[in-house]
Amino acid sequence: MSGAAPSGATQHPGSDHPWLPDLNWAPVAPFWAAAREQRLVFPRCGRCGRFQWYPQDMCPDCRVMAFEWAEVSPSGYVFSHTTLRRSFVPHFDNLLPLEIGLIKFVHAPGVTLVTNVLDTPAGGVHIDAEVTIVFPEVAPGVNLPMARLC
């Protein structure tokens, strides 16, 4: 994909969240703009309908370059998960232990959303657990899609 690489660590004034995405990085910018509006969108091929995550230029199935951002239902399920005990991302220590989920969506096959599972009791997350995606504002103007158990 074109576009300069994101700047990486974005310590944001007014936020405790240790690592924020670069909202302006072109290949993914529409994803964050939709999250700001509490909507979940992924690139879908305008020709064959394949969902492609992470974004790339050409659809590997039908080999056309016609991706559009399509809104999908925020209902998903846990494909796998882990509890982070030691973080390799700086400044996460206050958030540990942190539940990380790989979330899949029945209506967006091929997409896995890497995110955190919110407000989970110990041992509360399990494979196939149903979740809904919510969009908490973790820093001014920055909403991250996160999973909440149904």
Binding site: T82, R85, R86, L95
Partner: protein, 399 residues
């Protein structure tokens, strides 16, 4: 062990002009430490010099260099290596894949250069300073914009964190106990205990494993490879010429590379075939090229960045049904004295984390014989499995 297969090898159709065309004739390694007092460039240069001396050749005869395309050239570009070694004329210089699949698959490139007459003596080198450098192996992924944007805000960063959900999913799909995973670490350490050059040589118990800290459930520190400063190299030439050199030639009988339809950006979170590796393609292909079957293979050297990745590849290569890789490590089957030895130097888990090149070096030593306490009896066929996530190489070496 596999003498019965020798005749059938020659009748297999897929043996081709590169089968047995080249041999590995020299190996060299630096010492392996968590933090080396020497620069990594010095470690690599010394390992290459040692490998060429081991072959009984002169550095003036080295006319080709191969390494992986991503890590080796950043740590030490080939021209810098050649300048240090005073190589007079490099006629061949190539790079292949990333890390493990590159340094295990490199004989594929060398074989073509040597068989065509383009080059005569090709060195494969590799080294890392990931034991001491800031960010270590994690930095490799930290510079990926997709990971930085879509994964790091959620704490999903660093290879141990990528593999923890793989273990979970595998356990869900196939069943996997703590003890089965521990067996991989314990078996591998038992081999390292017999290798004077291994970084971790104290034998492990199940109790040691259970008290090892959890990094990301259910993955423990003892499920992870070491962090190492070190370098290694091996020397290749035609099998014809190899017959006149110092050591018994170790033939490159089969070599295969494959990439999946996933790029490094998307690996490991978006990998559709989440519990498989491209070893499922390269293993059978490389064995076919060599004219051998899994039953002929006397030992395996598998890229064991994590205990789980060792199981996945062992299955994909065809040595156990999918989901049953742990059976290879049950009852000491993969340990010293076992039926199918795996990672006889101690692997990435206990020997050193130099991304697969030490696996090649060890396979060569086993096939030459003379490995002392850790020698696999009658070793004639060894398979090296080189993993780099979305890509994989298999290398069949024979005595």
């Amino acid at each position: 062990m596999s003498t019965s297969s020798t005749t059938s090898k020659n009748s297999t159709m897929s043996r081709n002009s590169l089968t047995d065309a080249i041999s590995i004739v020299g190996v060299g390694e630096s010492t392996y430490r968590r933090r080396s007092s020497e620069p990594v460039t010095g470690l690599i240069t010394g390992a290459v010099k040692a490998a060429v001396e081991d072959a009984g050749l002169s550095l003036d005869e080295v006319d080709g260099i191969v390494t992986d395309s991503t890590i080796g050239p950043v740590i030490m570009p080939a021209d810098e290596l050649a300048a240090n070694l005073g190589l007079p004329d490099r006629v061949f210089h190539a790079q292949m894949s990333t890390g493990g699949s590159g340094v295990v698959g490199a004989p594929m490139l060398a074989a073509q250069a040597i068989a065509s007459g383009m080059a005569e003596t090709v060195v494969c080198y590799f080294g890392v300073d990931w034991g001491s450098s800031a960010g270590g192996p994690y930095q490799f992924h930290g510079t990926d914009p997709y990971k930085a944007t879509l994964e790091m805000p959620f704490g999903f960063y660093g290879q141990p964190i990528y593999f923890a959900p793989v273990v979970r999913r595998y356990a869900h799909q196939y069943g996997l106990t703590e003890e089965q995973l521990a067996n991989v670490a314990i078996s591998t350490r038992a081999w390292a205990a017999l290798h004077p050059g291994a970084m971790k040589r104290t034998p492990l118990t199940l109790e040691d494993y259970r008290s090892s800290p959890v990094l990301a459930d259910p993955l423990r520190v003892l499920d992870c490879c070491l962090l190492t400063d070190g370098g290694a190299a091996y020397v290749m030439t035609s099998t014809e010429r190899a017959k006149d050199l110092r050591h018994k030639p170790v033939k490159v009988s089969g070599v295969s590379f494959s990439s999946s339809r996933v790029s490094s950006h998307s690996y490991l979170s978006q990998h559709e075939d989440y519990l498989s590796t491209q070893a499922q393609v390269t293993g059978p292909r490389a064995m076919e090229m060599a004219g051998v079957t899994p039953e002929d293979v006397d030992f395996l050297e598998i890229y064991d960045c994590f205990t789980i990745s060792c199981l996945l590849q062992a299955e994909d290569l065809g040595f156990a049904p999918k989901g049953a890789g742990a059976s290879l490590f049950a009852d000491g089957n993969a340990a010293p004295g076992g039926r199918l030895p795996i990672n006889t130097h101690g692997g990435l888990l206990s020997h050193a984390y130099v991304l697969g090149i030490a696996h090649v070096v060890e396979a060569v030593r086993q096939l030459r014989g003379g490995c002392g306490e850790r020698q696999v009896p009658d070793a004639e066929v060894g398979l090296v499995s080189g993993y780099s996530g979305w890509e994989h190489s298999s290398l069949v070496l024979t005595a």
